[in-house]
Every structure is written in C-alpha cells, then in structure tokens.
C-alpha cells in the first residue's frame, strides 16, 4: 500500500471533514442546527440555462455522439466557443488549439503541475492559499513554497516573492479572486509580478510560468476588474472551472488555457495533453462539454453573494470582528479573536457555526467563512456570530 495515499485518505482536508460533520449534525438535529460556512459548494442553484441546454442536447443530439468520447483535448467546437468568448470579453490572447478541457479546476491544476514540474521543482504561491494546491504539487513531485500576503490588504508581497524565487522555481501560482481572502490582484500588482517573473526567468536562464487558478473570475463585486492573465505574460496557463460561476461544483468541468505565444507552445500543449493522459483523465465529461457553449457568460444569481458579502461584512465588523472586505469570490477571511483559530472554531461550533481555520490556508490567526449560501442563512447566522463576539468581549 502507498503510505502517502493512505495518509491523504485517512486525514481528509479539514474542509471535507467539516462538510461531512455538518451533514451528520443536520441529519440528526435538523437544518438550522448548524450553519455550515466551510465548503465552497454553491447553495445558489445553476441558472436555468444549464437545465435548458442539457435538455436541448438530450433531445437533439444522438446519444452515441452526446455521450461518446470527445478528442482527448476536448470537443473542437466547444474549445473554439471558449476561445472566442475570451477574445471578445477580455480582449485577451486565446486559441482553440491551445485549450484543453478538464474534469474541473483541480484536474486542470494537477495537469499543469505534472506538465511543467520535475522532481524537486518549486511552486511559489501567495498565502493564504487553497490547501489542496500542496497535495497536487506534491503529486507532481514538486515543492510548494507559500509566501505570506500583506496582512492589511491580503495583496501578494511582491518583494518577498522576488526574494524567494531561486533556481528551482518553475511556477508562480496565483488565485484571483482569492480563496480564502476574497482579494483580487489588480492590474498594477499583476504587472509588477509579471515583470518580476520575466526578470527572474532571465536571471536563472529558464522559464518561470505563471499559473492562474480562476474559478472565481466572474465573482467580483463593486465593479472590481479581474485582469485577464494572457494580457500580461506570455508564459501563462489559466486554469478555469465552471464550478462556481454556474454552480456546477459537483459536475467537474473546466479547462486549461495556454497562452498561444508561450515559449515552445506546441511542446507545452503536448505536455498538458500527456499529463491529462497520464493521470487517467481520457476526456472531460462529454455532455458537460457540449453544454458550455450555451452557457458562456452566464452565471448563477451572483446578486445573492453580493448581498451576503454586504450583510456579513457589515454585521461582523459591527460586532467588533476584523476583516479585509472581500472584493471577489464568496469567502470572507476573518481575523480570529484569539490567536488559535482552531479554538475559535470550537467555540463557533458550540453556536452551530462552522468555518475553516486559516492555518489550513497557510495563514494562521484567521478563519474562512464561505458565504455561497442563501441570504436567509446569513440573516439567521448573524445573531450567533454576535453572541460569539460577546463571549470574546469584542
């Protein structure tokens, strides 16, 4: 038996663990016994366009085509629709023959790491970061090097990132809007980061790739713009998923987009295809692929998240909690009232409140509150957060 795998299976991610705990408590004690802010599983349903597209496909496409293998890299018309959407929407470089359809963003990231890394290679990621990054990087034989973001703004610490880049660095991994902080990397920061990558690539004589994990691209509030990465840096791979924008987290559909002018683009695209093959992916689910062109640019009802964000931010800060106001995604990164965020979680649990300690995101002293829930869930939970605040005399 492989010990690493046994360990990964036995010790679930804390998010998955709390998700299962909440399911159990809820089944025993009823829906309002626990308010689960742990998992980024949208409780706002997919838009009607998804159901309409699926039924339309079932009614009009012969089943042997609808459910048959696509090319390993994905249906060509689907990839063309995506490339064209990105060119039109973000005025950014994108080409169908440099897109590879994946079984969600986790697959996209795993594939990019496997395609780029050799044993011992390093991936720099600003913390806080999604904890499974470490698992995926280590599966590819790499080493994840988190660099703490600036506590005031949760923006990447560009100087610290520059200092950390060394001859083993192969990837800078960014996630904007960020899970768990909600921070968006603005155009100015991105320009500086990309200049740094170009400089360090020259210094060390090899390419340092920019990999973007972008499932939250469409979830940005107050008109905040999320820069499109291929407008900034050639050696870029964008990992996208429709999990959050279309509330399809369980369906696993996304893609890798390689910058068409990436160095050795055709070799790199081959490595992406090879990695998908080596990891057993064969092709992304066919009907979900074919559904995409009908739903590009559509989203589930994001106004619910926008309202949640406002309610939570105003409520929590009025109770005395501290946090940076999230600009995007559906997470709020709250400063724990005591330095041990796990102890804070335990006290939250007593109030039926579940959230994830920042330690698991490489950022101790904070907790992540996932607000991809209905407005009334926030309304019902706020008094509990208030009672919890009083325990801490905030």
């Amino acid at each position: 038996m492989n010990e690493r795998m046994r360990g990964l299976g036995a010790k679930k991610s804390i998010i998955r663990e709390l998700f299962e705990y909440a399911k159990t408590v809820r089944a025993e004690k009823g829906a309002d016994s626990v308010f689960d802010f742990t998992i980024g599983n949208p409780s706002v349903g997919a838009p009607q366009a998804v159901a309409d597209a699926m039924k339309h496909l079932i009614d009009t496409v012969p089943p042997e085509v609808l459910h048959g293998y696509t090319s390993a890299q994905g249906d060509p018309a689907v990839r063309e629709a995506i490339a064209s959407y990105i060119r039109d929407t973000f005025h950014a470089p994108a080409q169908a023959d440099r897109i590879y359809m994946t079984v969600g963003a986790a697959a996209a990231l795993s594939i990019c790491f496997a395609a780029i890394l050799n044993p011992g290679d390093e991936v720099i990621v600003p913390a806080p970061y999604f904890p499974e990054y470490k698992v995926f990087v280590e599966t590819a034989g790499g080493v994840l090097r988190p660099i703490l973001s600036l506590p005031g703004s949760m923006k990447p610490d560009i100087a610290a990132i520059g200092a950390a880049i060394n001859e083993r660095t192969r990837i800078l991994l960014i996630n904007s809007p960020n899970n768990p902080s909600g921070a968006v990397i603005d155009s100015e920061s991105l320009t500086a980061l990309c200049a740094l990558l170009a400089e360090k690539s020259r210094e060390f004589g090899h390419t340092i790739y920019l990999v973007g994990d972008e499932p939250y691209r469409e979830l940005a509030y107050d008109g905040v713009e999320v820069p499109y990465l291929t407008n900034y840096y050639k050696n870029t791979l964008v990992c996208y998923s429709f999990s959050k924008s279309l509330s399809l987290a369980g369906e696993r559909i996304g893609y890798v987009l390689l910058h068409p002018e990436c160095e050795n683009a055709s070799d790199m695209y081959a490595a992406i295809c090879g990695a998908g093959r080596a990891l057993g992916y064969v092709c992304a689910p066919s009907m979900l692929q074919l559904m995409i062109p009908y739903c590009l640019g559509k989203t589930s009802d994001i106004s619910i998240y926008a309202k949640n964000r406002q309610m939570l931010y105003e409520g929590l800060t009025s109770f005395g909690y501290e946090c940076v106001k999230p600009e995007g995604a559906f997470y709020l990164f709250l400063k724990s009232p005591e330095s041990d965020a796990y102890a804070f979680l335990e006290r939250g649990k007593a109030h039926g409140l579940l959230f994830v300690p920042g330690d698991d995101f490489g950022y101790p002293g904070y907790v992540r509150i996932a607000y991809c829930v209905q407005n009334e869930t926030i309304a019902k939970a706020l008094p509990r957060f208030e009672a919890l605040a009083k325990e801490y005399n905030l």
Copy 2:
C-alpha cells in the same frame, strides 16, 4: 517542462491517432470513405433509460443538489444501490462503504495503482492488454510486466504468470472480457490464478492484489458467464465503468469496489480515497452519479454487438483469416496475414479499413477490430476485408 508528459502528449496512443485520422478522412471524403474499427467508442446509443433518468433528475432535484459536490467517495445512496445490485446479481461480497465512485475506469485504475504501488513495484498483466495500463502504472511509479497469453485460446498462461511473480510483484491485473481479444477468464482459470496469488503472497510475505478492469462485464455472448472477482479472492479491487454497458464512454463514470474483507480494508479504502484526492479527482460527476441507480442492470442494445460478432467471425474466417472467436467485449483479435501487423494496417487503410496492430497491446502479429458499430457498417466493410484477403491469397 516534464519530458515524460511531453512525450505522452506528442506520441498519442495509436488508437487515438487513428481515431483522429478517421475523423479527418471522413470529414473530407464522406462517411463511407473509411471504416473505423479502431476505438471502443460505442456507436450504439445509450438506452432510453439514460435520457429519461437525466431529464427526471433535472426536473425533480434542485440544481444546487443535482450539480453540487458529493462526498469525495461518491453519493452514499448511489454507492448503496451499486453494492446492493452486485450482491443481488452476482451473489458476491460488496459494501457501499467500500465503493469509491470514479471518473470512469481509467481513473479507477489510476487510483488503484497509486493506492497500492510504491516506486519499482511490479504489476503483472496477461497480454494482449489495453496499452494505457502501462501509462497508468508508470505514473504511479510502477513497472508493467506483460505475460503472453496462450495463442490458441487467448487464456492467461498461468504457469508463466507464476514464474514471473517475484518479490516486487504487488498486483495481478486482469481484464475479462478482454480488450482486445474478447476472451473471458472462466471460473476454473480464475480459481487457479487466485490460488497462485494466495500462495505467492505467503511465499513473499506480502499481499499480492488482484485488480480487475471490468468495463465489458455485461458484454458476454452465447451465455458465457463472467465470474465476479470478489467471490474468488479477498484482496481484490474491481474497476468498473458504465462506458460500454450504457454507451457512456465520453461521460466518464465508474467506480472502484474494494472487497469488504480485504486485508486492512479500511486502510486500503483510505488509500483509494487519498489517491483520488492526490490525482485531482475531487468527486465523480454528480448528475452522472445520481443517474446510475435508475440504470443499473440496463444496457444499450447488445444484440447489435452479438450480431456483429457473428457476421465478422463468420465472414472473416470464410475469407481465410484466422482468429479466436471472441466470447465477450466488442473486439475481435485477428491474426495478421503477414507477420508485421503495421504493414497489414497500411494495406487495410488502402481499402478504407482501420484497425489497431496487436503490437500496441503487447501481442504482435495480430490486429484488433472494434465492432461496437452498427450492423450495416460490418455488412459494408466485409467485402473490403474480402478484397484485402485476396491480396494476401488467403
């Protein structure tokens, strides 16, 4: 960039390569310009039950549930339905909490190899075998050791397998009904193989697991029985996919079933969960999971394959070709009229006939003909096979 991945992407599997070639030729020269017997992509559509179940789910399950994350190991009710189906149908040990839902059989196999193997561990497989096994085993750091099956019957050579097992052997991988030979491992052979595994496990002081790749379980002809593995050996993992039985090859839905009495079953199940996590799988596509209980025991119209098998076997042998009559799956393994099967393929191409050389299945001198097509395709292709036979003066 990772050279192994670039290589795997640049050199496609010959099956995928011929599949793409056929698509191109067909697009240029029309549907009847090429008869593609290369890929196991059923051209017999999914049964109506699949469409009905999907529409029913879309109409009755709230989208946030239908398309939301399931538990990583899969929806509990779906796993219970599968376990109960296996107990009832095959009178074989099966338990919901020892089933792990996967993104098809390729994922299931990749997960089993990652869960069991450590670098340098060996996997024995009877040849001919599905070529991607080698890719998946090597991704897990293992070494694939093919053992030629008996040419008369295409049954596993049990003596040779026994001689090949050594202190690095961790898995015997079997695929019955077999791709590409169509052979079924009967109860007697399976009993002998399992006795061998038990004996060698004792001899080498560690468990040798039996891993079964079973996407063709339902495709067996003339009343041939496909023994259910957990009735024969405790340390068994069954990899199943609905790709072929329900003609859902592009959808990627299947599972790993671990024998409930496997040694250290809960650790092994944890390793399976850990491997799924490490490879980026998150969960199997949710709506496809929920569709399964409506379709267990159903199949697409297998009588079409049964008729194809008869037409092909009778036609080809009457033209003078040699082959073992397939007992299951939808492949016929034909002896190449010249020793170089690639040369035979080239001559086939000139007649618009595509099939896959046995070399790629670890069995030179043969070709695989995938007959998962409509009856009329076989009828139209047979005269071409006859013309080809005449070229060889068969």
